[in-house]
Structure formats: C-alpha cells, structure tokens
Symmetry: C2
Subunit: 506 residues, 2 copies
C-alpha cells in the first residue's frame, strides 16, 4: 500500500507525515493547543520580517498584510481554545439500557478522531490567512492531522519563511517530528494528493484548478474528502427603500468592499441587483471619482482580470458607472483602479455567459431590475452556488412589517438555498473568524459544502466519528469517560427513555 | 439548468421532487415529526401484509422480518424526536462584539438547512430497515429533503407496497405533494443521480456498484455528496485470556453472529484473529454441529457466495472448522449452512488476495497468529477500512491492569483508526439505533466516512450550514432567534471574551 512513484524528496515528506500521524493523533488537545499558540506568538514576533517579504512577493500593502498577520495569529489561538473546550468532538454517550424498545441496548459512546495526513493547497490572495499558517492549516493541525502545505507559487519565499517559524515553535513545544511540511510546485502537489497515505485535501483558489484536484481526490483507488473553496460572485440585492434612505452610505460601503485588496477577494460583491432608475449608480459614480490604483497579485491574475474586464465592458447593453482601468508595467505586473458597470436585467440575461463568470479584481456589475421583478425566482436563474448573498433593506422593511415582507422573506429563503452566508445591510468582504461563521456554499463556491473554511467549525472537516461499544473505561478516549476529567460537553441519552419515542406526535 | 434527457416518467418524478423542495424545507420540524410518526404507525399496522410479501421475495424468516419492521418503525420515531429536540441543527450564535480583537464583530448566527432532493439506492439484505422506509430514507425525510428511492430489484413488490403505506401517511399529515417517490431499475437510478436537481445520494450495497455510483456523483458538472455503505469484513481479535476464560460462550456468540440472516449482514465478523493452538476452533466446531440451512437473498448473491466460498476453501493452508455448504434448488435459489475455516497467519498472508475479499454469506475465517505477533501492526496490513472492529478480552485485561495493557491499548488505537465502531466482548451484528451509534468507516466500508448511516447522527448527511449576519429577527430561522421559542440548544459565544484566546496556553 505504501508503494508510490513519488520523488525521493516527496517520498520523505509523505513518509514522515504518515509515520507521525499516530503520535500526533495521540497528543493531548491541551498540548496541541499550546503548540498552536506558540506558533501564533512566533508568527506575530516575526511579523516585520514576514510582511516585508510578502509586500515584495504579492504587491499587497503593509497595512493590509500586517492586519492579516494579526488575523492569522488570532485564528490560530481561537483553534487552541476550541481544542480545550472540546465541544467539537460532539461526544455522545448512550448508556446500556436493558429495557430498550428493540431489546437490550449496549453502552455506545461516540467521539471524533483525526483523519491522518492532509495536503493543503494554499491561496494567492491571502499570503498569511489562507496560506501556510492560515485557517485550513490551523484547523488541520488542531484536528491532530499531519500537514503538508503546497505553497502558492505567488509567494514561495514567504511560504518557506513562515514554515520555519512554525517548525521552530513545534519543536519547542515537543510536538512529534514530521507533522509539518511545505512543498513547492503544482506537480508535486498533485502527486502527494494521489498518495494513499494522504487522507484529505484542502484548497483555496480557482474553479478550474479546484475541479481538477477534486476530481483527482475522488478518483483515487481510495477516494478522500476534498474541501476546495473555489469561485463566488456574491450577489447583493438592494431595495428601493434602502436606496431612498441611504444611497450615499451604500455607495461608499460598496466601493470599499469592491476595491479592498484590489478586489481580489472571494467574497467581493460581484453583482448588485437594484431597481431600475434608482439613484444608486449616480451615487456610486460620485463616490468613485478618485479611487487609488493598486497592483494586482501577479501577472497571470492581472492578465486574466484584464480579459474578463474587456469582455464585460464589450457586452451589449453594459454602460459604465466608474470606468476604472488596468495598465501593465515593464515587469508585466498589472495596476488597476476599480471599474463599476450597470446593465439592465434583459441585457444581463442576453449577455449572461460573458457577464456571469467571476472577474477576480476590482470590478462589479449593477443589474437594474424593472419594477415587479420576482427577485426570489432570479436567484436560481442567476448562479448556482455562492459563498455569500446580501440584502440591503429599508428601516421599515427590516422590522418585518412592511407591505413587501412576504416577497422579502421569499428572497431571503431563495438566497439561503444557494449561499453559505446571508448578510443584511452590510458587505460580504471581511469574514469574521468566529464559532458561528460559515465560509462555504454549494458548488462552485466550494467542492464540499458540508462545512466551512473560516471559523472554528472548520476543524470538523478533518475528523471522522468513531463509536466504542461496551468499552471498559481503561480503553475509552478521555472525553467519553464517565468521570470526564477534561470537562468536555457530553450529550447523554439516558436509559429508560426509549418507550415514548414519537408518542407525542401521534 | 433543468434540461435533462430523462424519460417522461422520470422527468415527472424529479420535477415533482425539485418543485416540492422549498415547501418541504419550510415545514416546521414538529410537522415533519408528526408525518414521520404517522408513517411509522402505518408501517406497523401493515406489518402482516408487508412481511408476507417480503418472505416471498427475500427468503428471510418471518421472525427476522417482523423484528425488522419494528426496528424500522422505531427508527422513524427516533428521527421524529431528533427533529423536535433540534440539537442536530448545531445552532450557534455569536452576538455582535464592538471590542472584538480583530475589530467590531457583526452578529453571526449559524444553523443547517436541507440540501434538496436526494436519491437513495436501497439494499437487498434489509428489505425494511435499509430499504424504502429505512434509516437513509428516514434521515432524508427528517432533514426536509424530498426523497426518491431506487427500489432494490430483490424486493420490487414490497418496495411499491411500502411506498403506498408511506404516501398515504404523508397525505394524511398534509405534507407537500412530491416529496416521496419510488423508482425501479438501475439505469433509472443512474439517470436520476446525474440530474442537476438532485443534491445528494445514499446507497447501501456492494463496493463495485457503490464505486460506480460514487464516481457518477463526483463527476457531475456540479458534484454532490454520495453516502455509500459498501463492503466490510469486520475483524475480530480474541486474546488467549478471553479464550481460556470462556471459549464456549465466545464460540456460541460467534456462530450466532456469523449465521444470523444467513451471514448476509454488512457487520458479519469475517475474520477472527486468535492465538495459534488455542481451544477456540474446537469449541466452534463442537457448537456448530447442526446449524440450520437458510435460503440466501437471491440467485445472484448465492452464486457469488458459492464462488467466494470455493476460492477460500481452495486457498493453500486453509483448513475446515465447520464445513457447511451451499446447494441450489430448481429455481436457482441458493441454500447455505455456515462454513468456518482456519488459516495460519503466514497462510493468510500468502493467500491474501483470495481470502480478504468479503464473502457475503455465512462464512468466517479464523486467522491463527503465532505468539508475539504485533496485532496493532497487523491492522493496516490487513484491510483498509471497516464498519467495525472487535476485541474480546479476559477479565483482568478488561480492567486495564494486565501486563499486556500497552499492547492492548495500541491494538484498540490501531482498530479505531480503520473502523467506525470498536466493540468489546460482543459481536458486531445487530446495530443499535441510538444517538451515539456510528455505522460507517474509511473506504471501502463507506464512500464518505464523515457521518453514519445508522443512528440519529445520520440526519447531518443531508443538511448544510448557513450563517446569517446582522439579520433582523423577522428574517431569522426560528432556532436562531433570541427568544428561541422551540427551546433548541444554542451555543452562544458571548461578546467581550475574545481578548483571552489562547492566553492560558502560553
């Protein structure tokens, strides 16, 4: 089972990760928490040096990158607390029940264990928060799975420097050798993903590459789960009341969201549905008079953005609200200012293919809908799966007492059926790292929408359930023991309660 | 997106399921609970008639089938109570926090919503408990997903009769039209699985067919989750102490487990590792003198069993403990008595390919291991993924104070890494339907081991998370509201607590 065609270098990486898996799985959650906090502290201590490399490799600003390091460190620490809390184990205890309705019930107890070595393909647009020590890596390590990061080609030097910081912290906190690796090159990543010793994959990037990798994961002799965060155009719906009440505020929030990080965010609002003839385009045009120019992440992304932008501007019925632009410097780097266009709903429908694909950069499309348009029906027509969907309401509408409340409820339900996060009166960029966060959604937003890639629920992706039947206490995982020394939440189904099932629903 | 090549009949089924999805998702959990209990009651009321059909179509005994109807009804009612409890929604609330460590945190609340229409390929060996109204169907309906059952060809008449019972109960409890369908034929099942309106698949059956369907689900333009419960050989390890203390009891329990339902159970103990030279083979041989003959489920299964049995008996080093046999009647039905063989560990290794594949029928293999064999190391060598793994311990060993406790702990850990359920001093057949049950395991035991197909946790397979950010109460799902009228468990992360993350782990 361990025969592979890996190069000696990759074979050493995968063999080390596989060999380390049992020891890492056996570490106490408190010890993993300590190691993860040590990584977070070391990352913040190395911030000046790392941000300098990141600025050079990605073109992102110092302020943005510095904030991202803080976010990444906080994210790691949050997983440390998740580990200590233990609720993520979903510990369940069914004590033995001699009078169980189907005959004597054994003692059954269920917890979750790590999957084993995981490969994480890191992203270009968040060189810290979705890269070597980002949310995917944090949740993989927290789960107790050895981690192999496939570095993004956009910031190779930063990836290696970040890895050194992590390795030193893991050594200092006595974690098993072999649980952390960074590799380079797409072919290397694919070869590792195919290896039978790898038990799951994570990815943040494009639909094309994500699909390729998901197909590889699914077609292995033993298929594995693959959690890819792919493409999203994040529809926004703004009511006439909201525009009447606060057009300027909405225009300004919208432009901040579209232009931040040069629009290279998976949660950038790509389509904004507004009533025809509203004051919003003018407000946006006025607010967007002199937005600064930013470098895009790299020449390939810039080239692709320039092509998408040209296709959208050339589509029939599209009119310019803020022209913006893109230019290339001598090194092939692209520099962009935000572009906003508007198109009537029938023009959007006619130019659907040219318009709907994600434009990864600072561009957004206003779609003007005639009065009486059934917006809820528009959702499924529009785009299959998204990370987010947003609704801006007027003050009365927000109370749920306006005349159109049924239409608005239908729209909220329609949005929820196709996204992972529904926002009200806000903007989808800037994803809070919290226990209730959901960053994921139906295909093609993700390749597997059973979980999230941001927030502490992300840890569940790299665990699977195991039950123990009639296990002596000496052989039970500690969170399943009656004395529960870690104080983990245990859901207990007491004996003697099975007789009444469903009785009250007859 | 709704264009398909389905036949008019299948198109009507899928279109009805898709059209019913929003209305079904919007039903109150209490109303779905009431409908599910009505189905359970109707199923039990129809028991005599249904069992008569099942006996004719499957050859299973009246006692077994009658018990299976009770189990199926209890299973349905258990999901009704799961719905009312609401804990499965994993409701999380992060109230807004102006002092959040990464800047003001919005109010974020997370729950789970149904995936949409699901196709369930039912099993041959449980014509009730894993068929039209079995655990998969129960969890799909409980989740609020329209259900299309692909009936098993082994009991078509029973499938239709069961569907009528369910449809009548659903109508009586005012559930939306179109949420329940039974279709026939493998091609029909495949066509429906490919349809973009179908959002998940469930399956219980062979590795071959399961893999075929899993590949179809994964290779669709929009891939969907596919929860297949496939093959398992369920290793058992019995220590010398356990045999010394209770060889006869173990022999009798083993034979009951191997011969029940003519061995056609996915949890049948297929391999039993025992110390070389122990008294167990003789005890088994003595206890198995005159076991009754049973009909296998159908000619195809019987033929396949006869072939597997011949291959195992013909493998070098294999010796017969209980010969058993299989004969075919004039209608091509196979009738079997249990076969038990023994093979030394080196013979098992030499004949691995012939021996290791599941023999679906009343046959089990004792593997005799020399003193000093590292049993924990044997697990990964033996077989990749299993539904269960079992350990029989002596009395002192069970206290965790015996000399070999470290070896036993290592063995338990090794078993847990490759199975979904670890049993002690019991037998893996007879899966309790309870909240802590885990029926699933690494490939090829299942195609997706993130959940279970038995027990109430099974409902999570057909749900996905959705978060609501700064949603006015009027637009929140009821389980996320502060007033929590349903009394669902809500995990709240209070504001003001973010400063200390990880602090105690420095």
């Amino acid at each position: 089972m361990t025969e592979t065609a890996l190069s000696p270098e990759l074979e050493a990486v995968v063999a080390a990760a596989a060999a380390a898996a049992p020891a890492f799985a056996a570490t106490a959650p408190e010890d993993r928490a300590r190691a993860i906090v040590a990584i977070a502290d070391a990352l913040e201590a190395a911030k000046p040096r790392l941000v300098e490399i990141a600025m050079r490799e990605t073109g992102l600003t110092e302020a943005r990158l510095s904030g991202e390091v803080t976010r990444t460190a906080v994210q790691l620490r949050l997983f440390a607390d998740t580990l200590v809390d233990g609720g993520y184990l979903d510990a369940r205890i069914d004590p033995a029940d001699p009078d169980f309705v189907l005959g004597p019930r054994p003692d059954v107890r269920r917890t979750h264990i790590p999957l084993g070595p995981v490969i994480n393909f890191s992203a270009s647009n968040f060189p810290f928060a979705f890269s070597v020590l980002g949310g995917d890596s944090a949740s993989i390590l927290a789960a107790g799975c050895p981690l192999i990061v496939k570095a993004h080609s956009g910031h190779p030097e930063l990836s290696d420097a970040t890895a050194e910081v992590a390795l030193e912290a893991l050594r200092r906190t006595n974690m098993p050798e072999g649980i952390f690796h960074v590799i380079h090159g797409r072919d290397a990543g694919v070869e590792v993903l195919k290896d039978p010793r790898i038990k799951a994959g994570a990815f943040t990037g494009s639909i094309g590459i994500g699909r390729l990798l998901a197909d590889i994961a699914a077609s292995r002799p033993a298929p594995i789960p693959f959690f890819g965060e792919l493409g999203s155009v994040n529809p926004v719906f703004i009511t006439a009341d909201a525009i009447a009440e606060r057009a300027d505020e909405i225009a300004s929030g919208f432009l901040t969201s579209v232009s931040g990080s040069a629009g290279q965010l998976c949660t950038k609002p790509g389509f904004v549905f507004i009533p025809s003839g509203s004051a919003l385009p003018a407000a946006i045009s006025a607010a967007g008079a002199d937005l600064p120019e930013h470098r895009l992440l790299g020449p390939r992304i810039a080239q692709s953005y320039a092509e998408r932008r040209a296709a959208i501007l050339g589509s029939e019925g599209v009119r310019t609200v803020i022209p913006g632009g893109i230019r290339f410097d001598d090194e092939g780097q692209g520099w962009a200012t935000p572009t906003v266009v508007a198109v009537p709903l029938d023009g959007f429908r006619a130019g659907y293919t040219a318009l709907v694909e994600e434009a990864f950069g600072p561009l957004s499309i206003l779609v003007e809908t005639p009065a009486g348009t059934d917006l809820a029906a528009l959702m499924p027509e529009f785009y299959e799966g998204n990370l987010t969907g947003t609704l801006h309401l007027g003050a009365l509408e927000g109370t749920g007492t306006s005349e159109n409340v049924d239409e608005l409820r239908a729209l909220v339900t329609a949005i929820s059926r196709q996204v992972g996060r529904v926002l009200f009166n806000g903007w989808s960029t800037g994803v809070a790292v919290t226990p209730a966060q959901q960053h994921g959604g139906p295909w093609p937003a993700t390749s597997n929408d059973s979980s999230t890639s941001v927030g502490t629920a992300a840890i569940t992706r790299f665990l699977r359930p195991v039950a123990y039947q009639n296990a002596p206490a000496a052989f039970l995982p500690v969170e399943l023991r009656d004395d529960n020394p870690r104080g983990v939440r245990q859901a207990v189904s007491p004996a003697g309660e099975s007789g009444g099932w469903g009785a009250r629903w007859r």
